[in-house]
């Protein structure tokens, strides 16, 4: 006859496994990207619908700084272009409505890395298979006219070429 009180008493984990697991988890926690989790972010890929023929403003030759004021949305571009050139824009919407774009660069980099954005792709990219690791181009952040952050593949001069300001550097906390 069995009894549930015959359940074996508690035992500790093997120390080698416990130590290795703790180390792995501490590393994971310390080094995981400070960004939204994929599961908590609904992102919508849309194609710009502006009328054709809208050119890009002549590139400014000076560096202009503007503060990113809208922290709830970021735009990830697949080309260093604005207008109707098939630029794909990813608009990030936190599902909770409380998250902020604290790391637009990191978040857009994640979309590149996971294949949601590809160079020059002019439409929404639907990734249905397993997530693969893809090359991430050099990305720069610009301040868009509506105060959001726009992340483009490009160089340090990309913002000024697009007629956009660079984000104003944030003073470190005292």
């Amino acid at each position: 006859m069995n009894s549930i009180d015959q359940v074996p008493e508690a035992r500790p984990m093997h120390s080698a496994h416990r130590v290795a697991l703790r180390r792995e988890m501490e590393t994971t926690v310390s080094t995981s990207p400070r960004r939204w989790q994929r599961s908590s972010v609904a992102f919508v890929l849309t194609v710009t619908m502006a009328a054709g023929g809208v050119g890009i403003a002549a590139a400014a030759v000076y560096v202009h700084y503007e503060t990113v004021t809208n922290m709830n949305t970021a735009h990830c571009y697949s080309l260093p272009q604005l207008g109707d050139n098939g630029t794909t824009i990813a608009v990030l919407n936190p599902t909770t409505g409380t998250s902020q774009v604290v790391d637009a660069l990191g978040t857009c980099g994640m979309l590149w890395r996971d294949g949601f954005l590809s160079p020059g792709v002019s439409q929404a990219v639907h990734v249905t298979g397993p997530i693969t690791v893809n090359p991430v181009p050099n990305l720069v952040v610009c301040t868009m006219a509506d105060g959001t952050a726009g992340v483009f593949p490009g160089t340090v001069s990309t913002c000024s070429k697009l007629g956009l300001a660079q984000p104003k550097p944030i003073a470190p906390a005292p």
Partner: protein, 200 residues
Amino acid sequence: MPDNPTDMELWERATRHDGGAFGQLFERHSQAIYNHCFRRTASWSSAEELTSIVWAEAWRRRKDVRLHSESILPWLLAVANNCLRNYQRSQRRHQKLLAKLPHVKIDDFAEDSVNRLDDERRMAAVLSVLSELRVEDQEVIALCDWAGLSYAEVAEVIGVPIGTVRSRLSRAHGRLRTTLIIPSDDNRPLAARPLPHNPH
């Protein structure tokens, strides 16, 4: 910083990527998770693997944490139950982590390997008896009687009112008493009993 921070304080720090805070939570609760997983599988090696998966899942699902009590253990055990139900899928999801960890066999527990083998045999027999109960009744036995959680904490783990926990436990005990088992004299929950000395 307090000498003995609460689980909530540690979890709050962990979500801000403080690996040390996560490590403290790990030390506090790993053994409870490990033994809970053993009692549900009757296998120490599966319990070891599941414990790893539970912590990885806990971190992956960190935004879902809603602490209703001082302890994060009920939430961790809820994660554990989910991992137990979806063991294979959980293994696949966390295979990179599992590949990095030493795979421990019973033989590696040199001094108590015989005892651990005996544990597995006894636990399998107990689970065989328990399988006569409804699944939800088995769950409350494992959480109340074996893990030593309060009714409120069990209610939190399985997501039902406290009254439902009481009635399930009462039904399970009644069935075990009358048809399946002979209860022993020791009524203490297992969690309250001393841990045997282990050289590790």
